[in-house]
């Protein structure tokens, strides 16, 4: 049996032995050829992409991999410290990245610079707030976020199925600061969430949420934002989004290089490509979802229509009114997921 087992191990571990490949663990907006092919052509390499959702899934994939399997990581901006603590990321060469043209609000030095080193760079951002069909509800109806779970919209709303942004949004609605959330705040959040569930026609992921609001099955999407509606406005011009009086939640995604990567130079070039004006424009308008690029310089590449859909000119106002979504430590994260499981199971 021994030789057979060895042969099997060889088959299973034999990575295709092409000289230059880059393995990237990414979100779904990185898979468009418009973003990837220019890099592949320029460097004569093949970029292997694996999509994931949620930092837990990424950590689980990384745990199941061997050192050196991965070169580039796209990760939720607030989870960068978690990845750094796990020793996953390598420091970035700051001087080779376009920090001077990044929107200053999204640089997020407090989570991205640790021990004097920069471990990841923000590449894209947007808002988790309230999307709605303006032929059915007005922005004024939604100005007070607490109305969402008051029962006024029973059966007319859908909730986006991701615990961090939606719990963050509910926290903002309750007047809490997302940065200061503690386990003591969870009972109040859970109470509001469970009421929200009673009003919800569905709780779903991106497509289910998009379908629900774009087809008129619901009038309001809690947790939505430009990333849900920007690509669909041409089909249904009534789709809109707004930030309630209490505020909303800002999300951001960052990109970094794996500490165990054997191709760090190429990986850094990939990061530079994604942060370049052309890369940023492709990323902002990806087929998976649209959202603001972190690099202002992308404004030179994006068309006027694209910028209008992204609401380029209103960003200053939005950035002021949105809080970063919560960045819980492991214990709080587990407690939040428990709340969310109860929310789903209700």
């Amino acid at each position: 049996m021994k030789p057979a087992a060895t042969a099997l191990a060889l088959i299973l571990t034999a990575a295709p032995a092409l000289a230059q490949e880059l393995n990237a663990l990414v979100w779904c907006d990185h898979t468009d050829p418009a973003l990837i092919e220019p890099f592949e052509k320029k460097w004569g390499v093949k970029v292997n992409l694996k999509e994931y959702e949620g930092t837990g899934a990424a950590l689980s994939i990384i745990e199941q991999s061997r050192p050196g399997d991965w070169d580039v990581l796209v990760i939720d901006g607030i989870d960068v410290p978690r990845a750094v603590a796990a020793g996953i990321l390598a420091p970035l060469p700051v001087d080779r990245l376009p920090y001077d043209t990044l929107f200053p609000e999204v640089v997020m030095a407090e989570t991205h610079v640790i021990d004097g080193q920069t471990w990841a760079i923000t590449e894209k951002f947007g808002y988790n707030t309230v999307s709605f069909d303006k032929s059915k509800v007005s922005a004024a109806d939604l100005a007070d976020m607490t109305r969402l779970w008051s029962g006024d919209f029973a059966g007319r709303l859908a909730v986006y199925d991701y615990y961090l942004p939606v719990m963050g949004l509910v926290a903002v609605g309750l007047g809490l600061k997302t940065a200061d959330l503690t386990a003591a705040d969870l009972p109040a959040i859970e109470e509001a969430l469970l009421k929200l569930k009673d009003s919800a026609a569905s709780v779903g992921e991106v497509v289910a949420s998009q379908t629900a609001i774009a087809t008129g099955a619901v009038d309001i999407l809690v947790g939505g934002g430009e990333w849900v509606t920007a690509g669909l406005v041409s089909e249904n011009p009534n789709l809109d989004w707004m930030i309630p009086e209490q505020g909303a939640v800002r999300w951001s995604q960052s990109i970094g290089v794996f500490a165990a990567s054997g191709r760090k130079d190429l990986a850094v070039e990939f990061v530079r490509h994604v942060l370049s004006p052309e890369g940023q424009a492709a990323l902002a308008t990806s087929s998976c979802y649209w959202a603001m690029p972190a690099n202002r310089a992308a404004g030179e590449v994006l068309t006027a229509d694209q910028k209008a859909a992204l609401r380029w000119d209103e960003q200053a106002e939005y950035l002021k009114r949105a809080q970063l979504y919560p960045a819980p430590d492991a214990a709080l994260d587990a407690a939040m997921q428990d709340v969310w499981t109860r929310f789903l199971a209700r």
Partner: protein, 257 residues
């Protein structure tokens, strides 16, 4: 007459239940617009075109075909050999072996996938299409074994013994006597495995890495945003395989008739 009407009515209703969702899917793959709801606008072929020019989808299609063919070949071969071994009636503990070989049938794909994931993880082995194919061979082996075993009647065993008595070696017996005698069963086992593997999602999802099979690619299409390509790829796959199946059926019908 009433009996006929009753039967026809029931068949009609159930066929509608069974075929309608697929019909609707095919219809909306021609929808001119992103929203898959009535009223129907179109027809347009742009989503089909988008599918056929989508590099990732086409790669996934090819991966699915390779994994399905490879895992089915392994499952059919192993199932056939085991069915032969057990058909001789010379094995101690045959009942236990039979039960063990059939056991994976009764386990959720999710559990099989998770088990393989956990043990590959512990063994420090990486994921690839190979691991997906292994997973699929595990779910298909019991099926192939059962189909082959059912076909290995006493007639086959006697014919084998006769051939052996006439001096044929083991390999010749298997290739020239057994396999031809149960060829329909072998074909059925292989084809059924192919369909199961072709369609399987959760094992392929858990055990693949960069190269994925079609259901996994469709899954990420579904998660990535409202995209009419989903309708188009679903109906293309359906139409292609339905044509193959119906052609096979009609050919059989004509030969018999």
């Amino acid at each position: 007459m009433r009996r006929f009407a009753l039967c026809a009515g029931y068949m009609g209703a159930l066929y509608a239940f069974i075929l309608l969702p697929v019909g609707v899917l095919v219809l909306f793959s021609f929808q001119d617009g992103r929203l898959p709801i009535p009223p129907f606008r179109g027809p347009t072929l742009r989503w089909h075109e988008a599918v056929l020019t989508d590099r990732r989808l086409m790669a996934a299609l090819w991966n699915s075909a390779v994994v399905a063919a490879g895992s089915s070949a392994v499952a059919t071969l192993l199932g056939f050999l085991a069915a032969r071994g057990l058909a001789t009636g010379r094995l101690a503990g045959a009942a236990a072996i039979r039960a063990a070989l059939l056991a994976p049938l009764s386990v959720s794909y999710l559990v099989i996938g998770l088990g393989l994931l956990a043990s590959l993880n512990l063994a420090g082995l990486g994921l690839s299409l190979w691991t997906v194919a292994i997973g699929h061979s595990v779910i298909n082996l019991p099926l192939c074994f059962a189909i082959c075993a059912a076909a290995m009647g006493p007639a086959v065993v006697q014919a084998e013994r006769a051939a052996r008595d006439l001096g044929a070696g083991e390999g010749r017996v298997m290739a020239l006597v057994t396999a031809p005698m149960i060829l329909p069963a072998l074909a059925a086992a292989f084809l059924l495995s192919m369909t199961f593997s072709w369609d399987e999602f959760i094992i392929a999802f858990l055990l693949s890495r960069f190269e994925v099979t079609l259901p996994v690619e469709i899954w990420s299409l579904l998660r990535g945003g409202l995209n009419p390509k989903t309708n188009a790829v679903g109906s293309l796959v359906f139409l292609a395989s339905a044509l193959v199946v119906l052609a096979a059926e009609l050919a059989l019908l004509r030969r018999k008739g």
